[in-house]
Symmetry: C2
């Protein structure tokens, strides 16, 4: 595979970890259905506490899967899948190029 492909794979660890959680996937699903939601709106749709939702939102935001816009006291979250998809595409290209 070579070091280059390994580094791509290593770089994907936080993304894989962010995506491999059903709570976070539920949040993602909510945001595909609603376009934009506040923390309280997300909390009211799930069985998690608000701090737990906040925690998961932070992880998703750190991976660039969500974007957030603050208006007054409220924070509006929405999806930003492009970065994650691009990273996966890069990984696939590298692995296919180097590992077959």
């Amino acid at each position: 595979m070579g070091e280059q492909a390994l580094e791509k794979l290593r770089a994907c660890i936080p993304l894989f970890q962010a995506l491999s959680d059903t709570c976070r996937q539920d949040i993602i699903l909510l945001l595909t259905k609603n376009d934009t939601l506040t923390v309280n709106e997300i909390t009211s749709e799930l069985t998690l506490s608000r701090p737990a939702v906040s925690h998961h939102l932070k992880i998703l935001r750190e991976q660039g899967i969500l974007k957030m816009e603050q208006q007054g006291t409220q924070r509006y979250y929405s999806l930003a899948f492009e970065n994650a998809i691009d990273q996966l595409k890069q990984l696939i290209i590298t692995v296919e190029d180097r590992c077959y």
Copy 2:
């Protein structure tokens, strides 16, 4: 996003979990460099115990990332990335198709 894309994402959880571990990535790297290795050979290259290596091999095998061939008492492990890559490709296609 719709249920279809969510199901694709849900289906990827075990794959993401399998790949988001540095020990397992190290095993993958070893197998790209060596084509085929036994459990003891893998163990001698890492700082893990043999049962731990065996454990990680099992997880990787369950996700179709490795294939195994037994010859006598020895088990020869080698990479089989195709399944995982295909699954990621499917996910990307579905998300791009349904979520933009």
